[in-house]
Every structure is written in structure tokens, then in C-alpha cells.
Symmetry: C2
Subunit: 280 residues, 2 copies
């Protein structure tokens, strides 16, 4: 791996560049992004040059697509004609089935390895980039079919970042994330919208910290979420159905002994995701 292209120099893309540098990578890191993002990426050292997408695709051994899902789906066919033989394309998109299918349709066999770092921050943009962003966080890879020789270089890089690499299929990824990310987002948005729509005059002033926790995700914009949800619609629909079923069960058993079972199931999950170390 001698030349890397980062397409989308935001929080994730710029953090990938910084983490590569910290791990000892001394080759060129070409940024493909908006002017302000390129300037910020150059300033913090996340990228060392900039280029158009075709120019970066011609030269990079590894192309890292750190865009939103809808943009990644546009980028893949665009970069295909220019892709350097033997190069690896990977991405950091929040859903994997449609992106992997798009890559299989447009890119040479073995040249794509889907990815999804479960890493983030309250702040977005390259200004918030951090070489340690991936440490101790899950990083999903979804290998399908033949593997490029560059894939092992990517795996080594992620290991050196301290990421907890989890390798599963695109389908397994999307089913899991429907539960652990997409449903929580909708649960938060729906909760906040319920209070907003209630027009209860006290809903925005008599509350404890629990409501702040439960509405933090509701600050997210629909622009980011639309392409995530549209590319995982059936899994998310099933997750909403399961959620509604349990809410209805809680409603039927409000305050009764039977309700305790549901509280215990919930507490079991809530404890397990706090206590357990993240392991393969």
C-alpha cells in the first residue's frame, strides 16, 4: 500500500488519514472532497494532496469512501472506469447490502471490501478528526467473494488503529444495525416528536436527565438518515414491528407483575452492552 485516496474528508475520512499516519504510513494520501474539507484535511495532516475522483482512482492502491450512503452509491460507478488494476476500494457507509451489491455490479472481482466503523463524535467534519477515533470501537468488514491482496493491508491498518474488527456478511450487518442503530434513531425521533406533537405546555420544561439521553439522537437530521433507512427498509420495518409489539405488551401489563419480565429482558441487554468487553 503506497498511495491512499480518501473520498469524503469528513470526521471519519480525516480520522482514517490521521490514524494511517500515526501507524507509520508514509505514502501519499490524496483527498477527494469539497474545498473547505480539503483545506481542513491538509491543515491537520489527514491528507497530503488533493485530486478529482478519477485522478485519485488512477493512482491509489486503496480508495477509502467515507461519504454518506447515497453518495457512496454514486461514487462507485463513477470511479470504476479509472480504478487502478489491483487496487482495493473500501467504504465506511452505514448500510452494506446495497453498497456491496453496487460494487459487485460495477467494480472488478475482489476489488471491494465493505466496511463500517462504529465510531463517532458529537462534532462532525475534518476539524474534529482524531487518530484514535477507531480505538476499541467495533469496525465491521463484510468480505464477499475473492479478496484483493490489498485487503490484508487494510486489515493490518485497522488492527494497528486498535479497532475491534468484526467480519460478517452484508446481510448480517444490516440486520444487526437495524436493531442497534436504525431502530434507536427512530425510537428517539418518534419520542421527541410525540412530545412536540402533544402540545403539552409542560413537556419542554418538566423533565429529568432521562429525557435528555432519550432525545439526543433526535437532534440528527433526516438528510443523513434518509439514505440509511431507504437502503435497509425491510430490516428496519421488521425491527419497528418488534418494537411496537413490545410497547403494546408493556401497555397491556402496565404496573402489573408480568411487566417485570420485560423490564428484566431490557435490563439484561442494557447491562450486557456496558459490562462486556468488545471482543471477536
Amino acid at each position: 500500500m503506497q498511495t491512499v485516496g480518501i473520498v469524503g474528508v469528513g470526521l471519519i475520512g480525516a480520522s482514517f488519514g490521521l490514524a494511517l499516519r500515526k501507524s507509520g504510513f508514509s505514502g501519499e494520501i490524496i483527498g477527494v472532497s469539497s474545498e473547505p474539507a480539503l483545506a481542513a484535511g491538509l491543515a491537520c495532516g489527514a491528507i497530503s494532496s488533493s485530486a478529482t475522483l478519477p485522478a485519485a482512482a488512477e493512482r491509489a492502491d486503496l480508495l477509502y469512501l467515507a461519504q454518506t450512503v447515497d453518495r457512496i452509491l454514486q461514487t462507485i460507478p463513477e470511479l470504476a472506469p479509472a480504478l487502478r488494476p489491483g487496487a482495493l476500494v473500501t467504504d465506511a457507509g452505514s448500510t452494506k447490502k446495497q453498497i456491496v451489491a453496487c460494487a459487485l455490479a460495477h467494480l472488478p472481482a475482489g476489488s471491494f471490501l465493505g466496511g463500517h466503523p462504529l465510531a463517532g463524535k458529537e462534532k462532525r467534519g475534518p476539524e474534529a478528526a482524531d487518530a484514535e477515533l477507531f480505538r476499541d470501537r467495533p469496525y465491521v468488514l463484510t468480505p464477499v467473494g475473492a479478496a484483493s491482496p490489498e485487503a490484508s493491508a487494510l486489515r493490518e491498518a485497522l488492527a494497528s488503529f486498535g479497532a475491534v474488527v468484526v467480519e460478517i456478511s452484508p446481510e448480517e450487518h444490516d440486520a444487526a444495525l437495524a436493531l442497534t442503530s436504525h431502530l434507536p434513531q427512530l425510537a428517539s425521533t418518534a419520542l421527541a416528536a410525540t412530545l412536540q406533537r402533544s402540545a403539552n405546555p409542560h413537556a419542554a420544561r418538566i423533565f429529568g436527565n432521562g429525557l435528555l439521553d432519550m432525545t439526543r439522537l433526535a437532534l440528527s437530521s433526516a438528510d443523513l438518515w434518509r439514505s440509511i433507512l431507504v437502503t435497509n427498509r425491510s430490516e428496519v420495518s421488521m425491527a419497528i414491528d418488534s418494537y411496537i409489539e413490545i410497547l403494546q405488551q408493556l401497555k397491556r401489563t402496565l404496573g402489573e407483575r408480568e411487566m417485570t419480565n420485560t423490564f428484566e429482558e431490557g435490563a439484561l441487554l442494557a447491562r450486557s452492552i456496558r459490562k462486556l468487553p468488545l471482543t471477536k
Copy 2:
């Protein structure tokens, strides 16, 4: 106000005692609680003596019931025969309609003023007590009918604690809290239970910080919540219905432009409860 009785020397009860002392109160503070809670309350200075409930009721000008809702509903009829003439009873229970009705049925007119401090901590018990627990937090009072002269002493004390006192009816309180506290608890428990019940092998290992936010309340025990939910069943049922309706709407519009409206409604509430100062 010369003698205060605190029934239930836990986080809230002991914090009330410490806050009273900090505001300059120099009278006796009698604790009524379990042996370990009394010992911890005496050790930190939240109470200055201990007694049985009838003995405390005979001597206190102000009785502060800082128990769970079900225990408060038991305590009120028990303390009634011993209550000192002219004394005020107040409480810190999480629902108000049934507690206020119970007090109206058992206590002399004007001797009860319902309360609910929206203050808390991750840690419970008198060991976590804090004289500043109520500062800048909403403190609901639900006056009904005649007012005891001691009621103004309580209001002055709460003001001196830095609490943001909000005076509304018990019905308004319970309708608001169904939305801002009881529904969020059930939304969190149901979310965690959905993941637990899915038996998805990756649900407990591939997740971001959003899931941690959304499942923090799910750590709560059903024991605490049963009496809250049972005493606010109709308001909570309506809140669940509204929530399910919005979830179904999100499901129908997943990834479509129409979904944006619901995200915007939710973001509006989420922003308003963060930006706005807590005012009357």
C-alpha cells in the same frame, strides 16, 4: 418551621436535609427510615435524630415523604392519627393524582402539598446525597385547596435551594410526566427488550454510543416503576398510543421525503429542551 421529619432517607430525602442545613435551618431534622439509611443520614448530617413514623408525626412542623409512590400511599394513612395540628406534609413522589387524593381523604384540610423534584443521580441512597441536588432543576408543587402556613416556609426553602419551582395541578403534573418521564422509560425498556428478544448474535457487540444513551433508562428496575405506572395508567396508555402512531408513520414513510417532517418535529423538541433555560 422548627422541626422537620424526613420519611425515607434515600438520595432525595437526605439531599433535602442537607439542602435545608445549607440554607441555614438549625432545628431538629428527624429521620424515619431503615437502620442503614438512618446511620448514613446521621453520618452526613442530613438528619439529626431518628424516630418512628408516629413519633416524628407528633413533633414535626414539616413532614417530607421521600419514598416510592406505593410507600407514600401507605405512609399517609399511617401518619394521619399522629399528625401535629398545623403541620404540613409534602412528598417527593413521581406521580401526584393518587397521592394527593389519598392525602385529601386522610389528612386535615390544608395540611398536604404534593411535590416532585425532577432531580436525580446515577447513584442512589443517602451516601450520594448532595445539598445542591435541587439547584436549577424543576421542582413541581401541586397545591389543592386550602394552604397551611407552613406551605410558604416550604416554598421559601425550595427557592433557597435554587430549585425552579413550577406550580400546576396534580392532573397537569401526571399528564406531563407521562410524556417526559414515563414514556421515555418504557421506550428505553422496550428498545432494550427488542434487542434482547431478537436473539441477533451481533446486537450486543456492534453498536455506537447512541445505543448506550437509548438504553440507560432500561437499567432501571421494575420494582421502582410498577407503582409509578399503576398510578398513572391512563395517561401513560395514551402516551404509548401516540408514540406507536408516530412509529407507524415513520415506518410507512421510511426514507421518503415525508419522513423529514417527523425528524424536524423531533429535532425541534430535542433542541428546545437543551437550549431553553428552565424558567417559570
